[in-house]
């Protein structure tokens, strides 16, 4: 077996439930090189004391079962094995997990909202685990809402059964001092459909790693993301879509805006089409709009194709300033500069925000974007 048998982008990877199986990252590793380790408050090296306080509340649709379970529940960790040190630390450290089950053929009549609220950020770390199970042909929308101050690491598993449909909106609306490192892993059965929106707005360091793996043909995943990084904020999204079976589809579209000194956005988009995954149809895209000087964007799309029989495969990444020609056109119609700037940013992010199907969340995100723009305008 040569290198061809294993994707290059996974050569460094290993999966384990044991923290000790992962070395403490130094920051030189491919998967850590963009992350400010010193600001993780010890989540990565075992020095974080698990004395933080994070409250999880669930508001469930009537068709949905919610259980708070202990570490020994056998459903936990079946879909996902931690792939890095912080993820393993979270897996080893959580005390309670939330299990959401949507029974076979049940169609949830309302979104199920899991609210995670940090009560004190600086004093200690908290760990969480969430498993969402959609039995065959079930349909549901789940909102993960993150607020308050916390140093929080968690793993979220989405197990989407045959023909089931799951829509997830994860809102990172943390207070300014929060640190959040999270893995969100979706495992898709035959003809399962998974749509995810990651909205990252608040927090000091937010590092989200959404991944998708297909268990059987016919799976369809759409991963969308919107982020707005302000001065000093580090917002990182690391996506992995692993096409291991034939005839699955994936779409990735992440867009961000950045403003003020040391706003840092990182986007890693790994898509693997393995030798067995004939007929794969994939496209991934990342765009960043840089609103001021002093910001930094790292955008790295990786598309690895190990079969010649793909239906479609592409990727694109573009980061740039607000386009002077856009602003000139709008201003030439009488629209003042600040309003013109808002229209362009709103338009750019709005194409993804409009896709959020939960009205309440969509409106909240729109308001939050306006507040970010107000903040930007006030400084100028």
């Amino acid at each position: 077996m040569g290198l061809d048998s294993r994707p290059l982008s996974t050569l460094h990877e290993k999966a384990s439930y044991e923290v000790a199986d992962f070395e403490v990252p130094s920051g030189r590793e491919e998967e850590w090189r963009f992350t400010p380790l010193r600001r993780l408050r010890g989540l990565h090296n075992g020095t974080a004391e698990p004395i933080g306080k994070v409250i999880v509340e669930v508001q469930a649709a009537p068709e949905v079962t919610v259980e708070i379970v202990g570490r020994d529940d056998e459903r936990l960790g079946t879909a996902y094995v931690p792939a890095d040190r912080v993820s393993a630390q979270a897996y080893a450290s959580f005390t309670q997990a939330t299990v959401v089950t949507v029974p076979k053929e049940a169609v949830a009549s309302a979104p199920t909202v899991i609210r995670t609220r940090g009560e004190d950020g600086a004093s200690g770390a908290s760990y969480g685990h969430t498993t969402v199970i959609l039995e065959p042909f079930a349909e549901a929308t789940v909102v993960l809402s993150h607020r308050g101050s916390a140093t929080y690491a968690d793993n979220v598993e989405f197990v989407v059964g045959d023909g089931a449909r799951l829509s997830v909106i994860s809102l990172q609306d943390w207070a300014d001092d929060a640190v959040h490192v999270s893995h969100q892993h979706a495992k898709l059965a035959r003809d399962a459909r998974f749509v995810s929106h990651n909205i990252s707005l608040g927090g000091d360091v937010v590092r989200i790693s959404p991944s998708v793996v297909y268990d059987a043909p016919g799976g369809d995943a759409e991963l969308y993301g919107v982020y707005f990084a302000d001065g000093g904020q580090h917002l990182e999204h690391r996506l992995l879509v692993d096409h291991v079976v034939p005839h699955c589809r994936s779409r990735v579209d992440y867009r961000g805006a950045l403003q003020d000194d040391d706003a840092h956005a990182v986007w890693i988009g790994d898509v693997i089409i393995r030798a067995e995954a004939e007929g794969t149809d994939t496209y991934e895209l990342n765009r960043n709009l840089v609103l001021t000087d002093g910001t930094r964007v790292d955008s790295v799309p990786n598309l690895e194709i190990l079969t010649g029989e793909v239906a479609g495969a592409g990727h694109a990444s573009a980061s740039g300033r607000l386009d002077d020609e856009h602003l000139f056109y709008l201003q030439a119609r009488g629209i003042p500069f600040d309003e013109a700037r808002r229209m362009v940013v709103r338009g750019f992010l709005g194409q993804l925000i409009e896709r959020i199907e939960v009205d309440e969340v969509r409106e909240k995100v729109q308001e939050a974007i306006e507040a970010e723009l107000d903040q930007g305008a006030a400084k100028r």
Binding site: D323, H326, F328, Q331, A332, R333, G334, M343, G347, Q351
Partner: protein, 254 residues
């Protein structure tokens, strides 16, 4: 009576190296309400530069001269102030702005120019009428601004804005280029409606005489080498049609 006065206008652009290149070399022109002026000239003569300099595009640096609208100093105004003062530039290559819908854009522009937000119902009615006048599919209003529009759709959309914003002076930069004859007629009718509707002046910049069969100019100016080298009435357009720009190109250079 609106009057746009351009006096001894000199305009430069950065030439890629450290230096600048002078494009306009002393332009004098007065456009009054009720008048339609055509500016004609070969490629590279500076016609479009005149349009963009008057509109305030940051790429163009006015080095001397003056531009006033009803006595107000236009050059002191920002781009949006110029538009609100009553200047309009129909662009040759309108840019695409993703995610900003035509209706949202029009409403923002109308609100800015009129100084108050129009009532939603009245605005919808007005927009519907304007779309119909220019034979544009109503579904167009929900599309992203200029995104995926054909060349003809972009030009019609520029004229739609002209009709809705009702400026004092409209500058049309090669609005006729790239249009088939049907689209040209529709666009020309729009310009004529605009002219007929009020005390407005039109400055029509074009390379070809074709549009002048539909939009009748009162004055024709020939542009070459960054200045006006000849002026006359509509008959001058016929001379250009027959003889081309050769002799002016030489005159402009010398």
């Amino acid at each position: 009576m609106a009057t746009l006065e351009i006096r001894d206008l000199h305009v430069s652009v950065a030439d890629g190296a450290d230096g600048t290149k002078e494009i306009l070399r002393g332009v004098d022109l007065t456009v009054k309400a009720g008048e339609t002026h055509a500016i004609m000239g070969p490629n590279g003569s500076g016609k479009s530069t005149l349009a963009y300099a008057v509109a305030g595009h940051p790429k163009y640096d006015v080095t001397s001269g003056s531009v006033t609208l009803d006595g107000e100093d236009v050059l002191e105004m920002s781009v949006d102030e110029r538009a609100r003062a009553g200047l309009f530039l129909a662009m040759q290559y309108p840019v695409e702005v993703p995610g900003v819908s035509v209706s949202n854009f029009l409403r923002s522009a109308v609100t800015a120019v009129r100084g108050e937000a129009p009532k939603l119902r009245e605005f919808s009615k007005e927009m519907k009428q304007a779309l119909e006048n220019l034979a544009i599919d109503p579904a167009f209003a929900q599309r992203s601004l200029n995104e995926g529009f054909s060349g003809g759709e972009k030009k019609r959309h520029e004229i739609l804005q002209l009709e809705m914003l009702k400026p004092k002076i409209a500058v049309l930069d090669e609005t006729d280029s790239g249009l088939d004859v049907d689209a040209l007629k529709v666009v020309s009718e729009g310009v004529n409606r605009f002219s007929a509707a009020g005390d407005t002046g039109v400055l029509l910049i074009t390379h070809y005489t074709r549009i002048l069969r539909y939009v009748k100019p009162d004055f024709v100016h020939v542009f070459a080498g960054g200045r006006i080298v000849e002026e006359g009435g509509p008959e001058l357009a016929n001379v250009l049609e027959n003889e081309g720009y050769e002799k002016y190109v030489k005159a402009g250079v010398s």
